[in-house]
């Protein structure tokens, strides 16, 4: 265990290891709303929805947009495996807006179940990015 008052946070995506290091707190978008985690949390496994995530490092909250995935939480260790993770400055607002419009357009059309879920997922991703970028 690192120093008291922190836990090891790992945020990993297929493209890169987004963040590995100590964190003092974490707020992640779970299935039924935001979920806050402090060191010493009980062991939990939960699913992560696309949305905005915040983690506290050296008394500073760092925001990030994350995609769907899951999290394994232990008292001194939290690992998030998500589809994507981006810092706010990496997000292209225009692109996210265009993606949102595209997804909304597609959702209006008749689609197969899979296509519908893809469009919904695309919309959720775009919304997550836009929310984090603001």
């Amino acid at each position: 265990m690192a120093q008291t008052g922190t836990f090891t946070l790992e945020i990993i995506t297929p493209e890169r290891q987004f963040y590995i290091g100590p964190a003092e707190a974490l707020v992640l978008p779970a299935v039924d709303g935001q979920m806050g985690i402090y060191p010493g949390h009980e062991p939990v496994v939960t699913a992560v929805e696309p949305g905005e995530l915040r983690y506290k490092v050296e008394n500073k909250w760092e925001p990030a947009a994350v995609g769907a995935g899951f999290a394994e939480i232990k008292p001194d260790y939290v690992i998030l495996l998500v589809g994507f993770a981006e810092h706010p400055e990496e997000i292209d607002r225009k692109r996210a807006e265009a993606a949102k419009l595209r997804a909304e357009e597609r959702l209006r059309q008749k689609q197969s179940v899979h296509e519908y879920y893809h469009s919904k997922a695309a919309l959720a991703r775009a919304m997550a990015r836009l929310k984090t970028r603001r």
């Binding site: 297929p14 299935v31 939990v44 495996l81």
Partner: protein, 293 residues
């Protein structure tokens, strides 16, 4: 000794082949660099997803969920087993395609009801030639693996599994152990089986308390398992692509080397033949001149 003309044509053809093998060598080595980068990027995710799933499974032994259902009431001889076989799109990659196809055939011979889902043109044409039925609509290339393709494949497999058209799903791919060793590997995708996951807990902190699932086991597993299958397929695609490029690079390098060695020998015999012809001509001229004297 072969005539000068014959050697000349031989040299030309070897030179042509050398050009091709050398170009393929260069292409595959540049592709390999890209694939390696992707592999090093994806590997931590791939490993973490496995250790995490293993951790979760070992901490919560009693999960009743459709993805964990081994369907014990289905008799072994009636089990419908799906194999995803990842081959290359092109040949000329040494034993790469051969090894994975051999493994696939060996696996298939053990069960009467198997369905094949083949990635890559080489595998598709191989099974078609041998009259082994494969899923014809499963058309994915092995080039440039991406997440979207892995997602489509994962969705198809999960659908077939849930509709009970398949009872078990395996993926056959080539794992790149290091630059010199590539291993055809079988990996079980569905149903999730705690026994196939090695125990990673030795170097991890152990909590004897059971893990809590928020909001519920079903809600978490419904999201977690498709993500895991997708990540696993993606990792297998990347790993195979990297192995393919590596195998092709090695094969093309050795064939280029062989061609160069052959050219050297051919040049030697060409020069010898030329020398012999010249000598013979001189002898003839001298002989003719002497006779004329």
């Amino acid at each position: 000794m072969a005539s000068i003309k014959e050697i000349r044509t031989h040299i030309k053809s070897v030179e042509q082949t050398l050009k091709i093998t050398n170009a393929m060598y260069l292409i595959s080595s540049s592709n390999l660099q890209k694939a390696r980068k992707q592999l090093t990027d994806v590997e931590p995710y791939f490993q973490k997803i496995e250790t995490t799933i293993s951790d979760i499974l070992h901490h919560s032994p009693e999960i009743s969920h459709v993805f964990f259902d081994k369907r014990p009431d289905v008799q072994p001889e009636d089990r419908k087993i799906g194999y995803i076989v990842i081959t290359g799109d092109k040949g000329l990659a040494g034993a790469y395609n051969h090894n994975i196809l051999k493994l696939a055939e060996q696996k298939m011979s053990q069960h009467p009801h198997t369905s094949l889902f083949v990635v890559g043109q080489v595998g598709r044409s191989y099974f078609q030639e041998h009259g082994i039925p494969i899923d014809v609509e499963f058309l994915y290339t092995a080039q440039d693996p991406n997440m979207g393709r892995a997602r489509d494949m994962a969705e198809l497999m999960i659908d077939l599994y849930l509709e009970e058209q398949l009872d078990e799903v395996y993926i056959l791919f080539t794992r790149m152990v290091n630059t010199f060793r590539m291993e055809p590997t079988v990996h079980k995708l569905l149903p999730l089986d705690p026994d196939v996951f090695p125990d990673y807990e030795k170097n991890r902190d152990t909590y004897n308390r059971d893990v809590v699932y928020v909001p519920s086991v079903k809600a978490v597993m419904d999201r977690l398992v498709p993500g895991y299958v997708k990540g696993d397929i993606f990792g297998a695609l990347v790993e195979s692509y990297c192995s393919e490029q590596n195998a092709r690079m090695t094969a093309m390098k050795s064939s280029s080397d062989n061609a160069r060695a052959m050219l050297q020998n051919l040049n030697l015999s060409y020069n010898r033949a030329r020398q012999a012809a010249i000598t013979q001509e001189i002898t003839e001229v001298v002989g003719g001149a002497q006779a004329a004297l």
